[in-house]
Amino acid sequence: MNKYLKVSLTLATIASGSALLIGLMNLATVGAIAANKENKIKNGISRFYPEQYYYQYFEMKENSDELEDGKLLYPTINSVYIVDVPREEGYKRGYVYSTSAKNSYGQVDLLISIKEAKIDEIYVVKNTESYGQTLEDNYINKYNNGYLKDLADVKCGATYGAKIVKEQCDDAMRHYTNNYAKEGE
């Protein structure tokens, strides 16, 4: 009996020791992980607008005005960043959408920058949808570099990953035309 007691005591010590270590490490890193996520979005925005600027943002999914029949009107948009870029006369506004969408292979998080009523550039924040860099290399970077005129490209816009990218871009564009397009004119 004594032997079993000793064994179970050892096991309990190991288990709680490991749980303690992991828990402490989690407490130590949870702030930094959250900060990293924010930083990534900040870095993305400063990729689109390298000059320093003022921006404001609001969360989309918490905003109850965007509901229609109990469904989200723009289901993929997480938040909108409105950027004031200083120009010679006054300010110029830029809009960056932080979106995320999911299909059965995984999730793609994007930052979509809209300039002059056109999707200007797309930045991938997180991609667990396609293995490796295929989505970026074959589709998004081609659009960013101007090889693709339109996101609905026949050759490389037909994959499942491209579909959810397009979905996100459509949502962003729709939100922009509904809310901000007139402002800019």
Binding site: L21, M25, T29, I33, K126
Partner: protein, 253 residues
Amino acid sequence: MSMDKIKRSQHKESFLNGILRENPLLVQILGLCPALAVTKSLETAFGMGLLFTFVLVSSNVIVSLLRKLIPEEIRTPCYIVVIATFVTIVKMFAEAFLPELYSSLGVFLSLLVVNCIVLGRSEAFAGQNGVFDSFLDGCGNGIGYTWAISLMGLIREIFGKGTLTIGKVFNFFGDPLVLPILKSTTLDTNGDPLYDFSISIFQNPAGAFIVLGLMLAVMAAITNHKKAVEKAKERAAKEAAKAEATLVAGGAK
């Protein structure tokens, strides 16, 4: 005094063995999965090596501390829990402080749990030896593995991408430095690089297999050569002894 010397030589051996003579990747051929998967660039490979070394050293130390407490029969379960704990810790650390490395390593950081080297060292070495020896063994094996996969990453990055990027994963010093080696970083009027001798197959999975295969072959050739030289020496010594013996015998007559 002599005991001290023996001890010291044992320490030295347990440290040095892993680095070259019993290199976990190149000689023992263990831990192939991360070696093939994360060696697209030098920096990811090096980062993987560092994290791997940390996991190996700490699990070795803990296992050898616990070796008298754990009954023989339930060793493997305990080892697995200890290793998995350290892997989880390393994962969190990387996610918090090295996010670039974390995202490029992906699943392979978690797969350290089932890495043959970590489990193997725990079972074969740390479970039977003292704490200090286990610590040194972990360091040696970790360094051996790190240099082997870093070399692989270097080869694959230079031949596959043509450029060598430093400071992208460990981005504490501002902008990354891009060294043009086989591919120029300056563009001509058409937007193409001035010269480009890179071979993209080295970035593909097939390239990983080829590079590792050739590295193992070179290593095997070196060991074969060493063995042959040793054998030749032995034979020469034997023949000399024989000749001497016949000479002595002849002289006696």
